[in-house]
């Protein structure tokens, strides 16, 4: 799973924008996940193969977002 974690420094608009760019999501879906990060502390952004998840984590970290990949238990 690709997870984005909350932090107090990234602007909400910026996070929404990054989700749109990295995943190609519409603004509404990107905002939904941004709100989940903000309100629940994290959001699962994708469930993918190891290789694809690594790619997404790299893309998100390029934008300095706090993103990691975790095992889907």
């Amino acid at each position: 799973m690709v997870i984005c974690w909350n932090d107090p420094v990234n602007y909400m608009d910026y996070v929404t924008h990054v989700f749109q760019v990295v995943f190609g999501w519409a603004r509404r879906k990107a905002e939904f996940h941004m709100r989940q990060v903000h309100e629940q502390g994290k959001s699962v952004l994708a469930r993918e193969s190891m290789e694809k998840a690594e790619h997404y984590v790299h893309q998100l970290q390029k934008y300095s977002l706090h993103a990691t990949m975790e095992r889907d238990e």
């Binding site: 107090p8 420094v9 608009d13 760019v21 190891m50 970290q61 300095s64 990691t68 990949m69």
Partner: protein, 154 residues
């Protein structure tokens, strides 16, 4: 800084002389974020995690080197800022703008880390923390202006 014109290929901003200096001084702070801050996984337990972490670190380091090279080229490009009667005109492609957002956020988050990653706004600044606070706030301000320009009128 104001957006004065945008087409699908180019954004043009007007900046005062002080704003231009401020933006250039800010960009010179890149890279700000420590590479070691970015773990691939929190809980661990991924297959071959050490190798994967190594590859991620390597990719981010390469990216950072490329960004530094690109930033130096941008700062040295005389056509990028054109002097006008009322200040300066900055021209950027959509790709430049997207890339500058990453650079500015590295400076913003990196400055925040150097402040000790505070959860709340700092109550007091001193001569050690003030420069990092300034960089964090200013990079955020430019970021938001670039984002507004990219999103256009809603």
């Amino acid at each position: 800084m104001n957006l004065i014109r945008s087409t699908k290929d180019q954004f043009q901003f007007r900046l005062g002389g002080r704003e231009k200096r401020l933006l250039l001084d800010l960009l010179k702070l890149y890279p700000c974020l420590p590479v070691a801050r970015q773990p691939l996984s929190k809980s661990g337990g991924l297959p071959d995690q050490e190798t994967a972490q190594g590859l991620l670190d390597e990719a981010l380091a390469e990216q950072r080197q490329e960004n530094r090279r690109q930033l130096q080229a941008l700062l040295a490009d005389p056509g990028r800022f054109q002097e006008q009667e009322t200040g300066w005109r900055l021209s950027l492609s959509p790709a430049d703008l997207e890339w500058l957002l990453q650079i500015l956020n590295d400076i913003r988050v990196g400055s925040w880390v150097r402040l000790g990653s505070p959860e709340e706004r700092l109550a007091q600044l001193d001569e050690k923390t003030a420069p990092h606070y300034w960089a964090m706030e200013m990079s955020g301000r430019f970021q938001m202006q670039f984002l507004e320009a990219m999103q256009g009128p809603n």
